[in-house]
């Protein structure tokens, strides 16, 4: 079975985060009252005409450039004709012959190393409205339509079928989402429909690409992975059992994780694309394109690599921190203030991430800023608190918003460095634990760990661990003699 090679291509609709729609000045706000952000243009009233939003062009050029694509100085719009109640004009304005961006790639990291996934085209188009159905057809024979989304700008990214596994498809999407967020061109929120993905899957034993099956309307990263995994397996099964794969459109049943053929309507799809006469060609100047390229921010993978090189932090930390522009910005700000990247990365990826996950807050919403972080690290450095206590201090500071110094003061968490005080406790512990002591003395030296633990417990973790270690060893040495 392993000789089957899957070939996977993605078509991703990225909703561009403009304030207004692609061809009219209506708001793109998500979640407004139905049919309140509508006008003659996006409602398809007779006589209305489209006018292109400059931000859509800017964002598309930005995204196209970030995906290493050629930006076409002349691109054209077409009408794609089909009837659907949420498509008010009976055609969708989209790019067809010459899209705004073509031929690029996105490099993803996989278990096998880096892989370039080529991108065929990126074109801008308008979204349709939203059909709302209550229950299945037996419950309601009507669709309810909200045109607020009609005319919201989309950029469709079409990859070549370079993807070979579900994991790669997942990685590609994750990186694309990071990228659009880095660029500020889209929220990338799949649950809000700001990122929508169709997948083409085929399998083949040889160089000839097998029959392509399209899986439509996947609404989460996990769904994409599951759908591809299932579909690859299904197609191989079909072929192994002597069958042949049918070219069709399927969708993922979220409950079972299976892909199911959409009821085949024998409706012929003939979209009758032709040039949109209401929109002359979009012509971009070299200066415009160059300016956007120059202003492109550092992208996720570049940042990740720089973090490893510049700060010497662990690869998986660098990956996780660079996964969000906000997190990366926070990290760098704190590093600038503290000059201790490794420690910063450690606390960021453990205590702070735990706090964010628990509370659902964003990194930008916490009061534990670079100043507090610096103060916190200096408390460890100058020995005021131990590494153990440090965890408590940062957690408390995150919870309460108080400064690390305040926490330490309030809770009496100052590290005990007084050797006499610690020695007293050490002796106490040795007395109370004769068995580990004799084990130690008979050569099982690893029991010292347990004894250190006991001392730390008695001091509520406040004892300086190095001192505890030293004093314990000294005391045990004496006993041995």
């Amino acid at each position: 079975m392993s000789e089957y090679k899957p070939t996977i291509g993605l078509e991703i609709h990225v909703q561009l985060a403009t304030k207004t729609k692609i061809f009219c000045s209506c708001s793109t706000e998500f979640g407004d009252e139905p049919n309140t952000n509508v006008c003659p243009v996006c409602l398809g009233l007779p006589g209305a005409l489209p006018v292109l939003n400059e931000k859509v062009v800017e964002y598309a050029v930005r995204l196209g450039s970030a995906l290493n694509m050629t930006i076409n100085k002349v691109s054209t719009f077409y009408r794609k004709n089909y009837f659907y109640p949420d498509l008010p004009k009976g055609y969708q304005i989209t790019q067809y012959a010459i899209p705004i961006a073509s031929e690029g790639f996105l490099e993803i990291k996989t278990k096998k190393g880096k892989r370039k996934i080529r991108i065929q085209r990126g074109h801008i188009e308008e979204d349709a409205g939203k059909s709302i159905h209550t229950g299945d057809i037996t419950e309601s024979q009507y669709s309810y339509i909200d045109f607020n989304r009609s005319g919201v700008p989309l950029m469709e990214i079409v990859t070549y079928p370079d993807i070979e596994t579900a994991e790669e498809a997942y990685e590609f999407l994750v990186l694309l989402r990071k990228t659009v967020r880095y660029l500020g061109v889209s929220s990338g929120d799949m649950e809000k429909g700001a990122l929508r993905c169709d997948v083409n899957v085929s399998v083949s034993k040889n160089d000839k690409i097998g029959t392509k099956v399209e899986i439509k309307n996947l609404n989460s990263f996990k769904s994409v992975r599951r759908a591809v995994e299932y579909e690859v397996k299904r197609q191989i099964d079909v072929l192994e059992n002597g069958g042949s794969v049918v070219q069709e459109t399927r969708h993922l049943n979220e409950k079972t994780g299976e892909t199911v053929a959409m009821r085949t309507k024998e409706e012929l799809n003939d979209y009758r694309y032709f040039p949109e006469p209401d929109l002359p060609p979009l012509i971009l100047t070299d200066e415009f394109i160059e300016k956007i390229k120059k202003e492109l921010p550092e992208l996720p993978l570049q940042k990740e690599e720089r973090f490893i090189k510049e700060y010497g932090i662990k690869e998986d930390y660098a990956h996780d921190i660079a996964s969000s522009i906000e997190l990366a910005n926070y990290f760098e700000a704190v590093c600038r203030a503290t000059k201790k990247p490794k420690e910063v990365a450690n606390f960021l990826m453990t205590n702070i991430m735990k706090y964010l996950n628990k509370t659902g807050k964003q990194i930008t919403e916490i009061s534990f800023n670079e100043k507090k972080f610096a103060e916190f690290l200096s408390l460890i450095d100058n020995g005021t608190i131990s590494k153990n206590i440090a965890k408590e201090v940062i957690d408390q500071s995150l919870e309460t918003g108080k400064s690390p110094k305040e926490i330490v003061k309030e809770r009496g968490l100052v590290q005990i460095t007084d050797e006499d005080a610690i020695k007293e406790i050490v002796l106490e512990v040795l007395k109370e634990n004769p068995k580990p002591v004799s084990q130690y003395l008979s050569g099982k030296t690893q029991t010292i760990g347990f004894l250190i633990g006991q001392v730390m417990k008695k001091t509520k973790g406040k004892a300086n661990p190095q001192i505890v270690n030293k004093l314990l060893r000294n005391a045990l040495m004496k006993m041995k003699k």
């Binding site: 398809g44 007779p46 006589g47 109640p85 008010p88 055609y91 009758r272």
Partner: protein
């Protein structure tokens, strides 16, 4: 003084000087409407009460501003007027209340013209006689047994019968010029992109243009001054400097080069129209213009090119009429049935015919042979005009090959399509053209002469037309 005989500038001057009131003007025109409308049937929608109210309002104004102040005005029913029923002559839009003004309407209103109604037309501007109106045919005021032309037949008839002083029409393949010619008035089709199409219900987006119908060239120029200009709501609107299109009226045309298209002789011209053309050439000679022969070798292909491109675009433009948001709806057992019932009942025969032709011409396997081929031949024709205009300042040819025909006379679609043979090439090339009256035939039916100008040179086109109009 017969108020309804005054030109736009004369009328507005008289109102502004206090000589006459807007209400008096309106009453004179209403008198004509009451006398004639029942026979002419120029209007789909007529609001006399509102017109009178508006007249009183204008009379109360201290500052009498606007070059159309108090002018009784009509708008073709495919142009949106705020809070007014806008049907485009179709049953599918019966009862549709527009929530906005077309840009051209906004401009006319700003100049304080009084829109008294919406005029009849061939459904969605598809026709040359106004017989394709879903509601009723309009009659030619010159002889009510004859068609007024189309598709802006209602506007032409309303102007001719003096129910209004001027009107807006739309011209996709001759829909302003042909009815102007049949009714014996002036009709101007501006350069594509000069007048905003925002609010004009699209028939064929790459060909449509709003234009004025008026009694004389000067009135047409005054109207063009009002409606021309860049509009940020129409991407095909062209940003050129604002001009005064009346500036050259009355200036001599001595030395201007006027081209006669050689290939015109390939077509059957009505005898009186041939004579009228010759007479116009004489006039031009008298005015010391230079008349020369030019060639548009592919002229005869304009008709099939047009009847592929216009229906193709229309098939998409008319897809929005699905019953969901406005207009007629006939609910079926499911969505597909609802669409089919609504559209099959809502559209008339000619509209369905053109939607089907256009759908076919764009469909997979036929696109290259029809839509694409036609678009290429369109380029050849446009290039030939461009070459001709290297030699001449304007082209002269009849607006139509025959004068008006009787209502119900033309039977086959192709016969009807051929009516537009001389007007269609102008739209294909996006050029400006004007039709001016040029006498009558033996039956007393008006003959129209057409002048085609250079792109965006309407001032010169109007100058030449004015000279012919007044120099004959």
């Amino acid at each position: 003084m017969d108020i309804t005989e005054l030109s736009i500038s004369q009328l507005v001057k008289n109102i502004k000087s206090g000589e006459i009131s807007v209400k008096e003007v309106m009453k004179s025109y209403i008198e004509n409407i009451n006398k004639k409308e029942s026979k002419i049937k120029a209007f789909i929608h007529l609001d006399i009460d509102n017109a009178l109210k508006k007249a009183e309002e204008l009379d109360r104004m201290r500052e009498k501003n606007g070059v159309l102040f108090g002018v009784p005005f009509a708008v073709k029913d495919n142009i949106n007027v705020l809070n007014t029923e806008t049907t485009a002559g179709s049953k599918i839009l019966k009862g549709y209340i527009s929530p906005y003004d077309a840009t051209a309407v906004e401009k006319v209103k700003k100049e304080n013209a009084i829109i008294i109604g919406k005029t009849n037309m061939d459904e969605f501007a598809m026709g040359s006689s106004t017989e394709n109106s879903a509601f009723f045919p309009t009659h030619n005021p010159v002889n009510v047994e004859y068609v007024p032309g189309g598709s802006s037949g209602g506007s032409a008839a309303a102007v001719k019968s003096k129910e209004v002083l001027a009107a807006l029409g739309s011209d996709t393949g001759g829909s302003v010029r042909e009815p102007a010619s049949f009714c014996g008035i002036v009709g101007l089709k501006p350069t594509y992109g000069l007048v905003s199409r925002y609010g004009l219900i699209a028939f064929s987006s790459s060909l449509d243009q709003i234009g004025p119908l008026a009694r004389n060239v000067e009135d047409a120029a005054v109207l063009l001054n009002v409606i021309a200009g860049f509009d940020s709501r129409d991407e095909t609107s062209v940003n050129i400097e604002k001009k005064d299109y009346t500036a050259l009226l009355g200036k001599e045309i001595k030395g201007k080069k006027i081209g006669i298209i050689k290939e015109i002789t390939d077509f059957d011209l009505q005898q009186e129209i041939k004579s009228a053309l010759n007479k116009t050439v004489d006039t031009l000679n008298k005015l010391q213009a230079e008349v020369i022969e030019v060639s548009i070798p592919h002229l005869k292909y304009a008709l099939p090119v047009y009847y592929i491109i216009a229906p193709s675009e229309a098939s998409a433009n008319l897809a929005r009429f699905d019953g969901v948001r406005y207009g007629l709806i006939r609910e079926g057992n499911n969505l597909k049935e609802t669409y089919q019932l609504t559209r099959t009942e809502g559209f008339g025969e000619e509209v369905k015919r053109r939607i089907l032709i256009g759908t076919f011409a764009l469909s997979s396997g036929y696109y290259d042979a029809y839509y694409l081929k036609a678009s290429k031949v369109r380029r050849i024709i446009a290039n030939e005009f461009e070459n001709a205009f290297k030699k001449v300042d304007a082209l002269l040819l009849p607006t139509t090959a025959t004068t008006a025909f009787k209502i119900g006379e033309k039977k086959s679609p192709l016969e009807m399509y051929a009516t537009d043979i001389f007007t269609i090439p102008v739209n294909l090339a996006g050029l400006p053209a004007i039709s001016i009256p040029s006498g009558n035939d033996k039956k007393g039916l008006p003959i129209g002469m057409q002048l085609i100008g250079k792109w965006f040179k309407e001032e010169e086109l109007l100058q030449i037309a004015y000279s012919i109009e007044n120099g004959g």
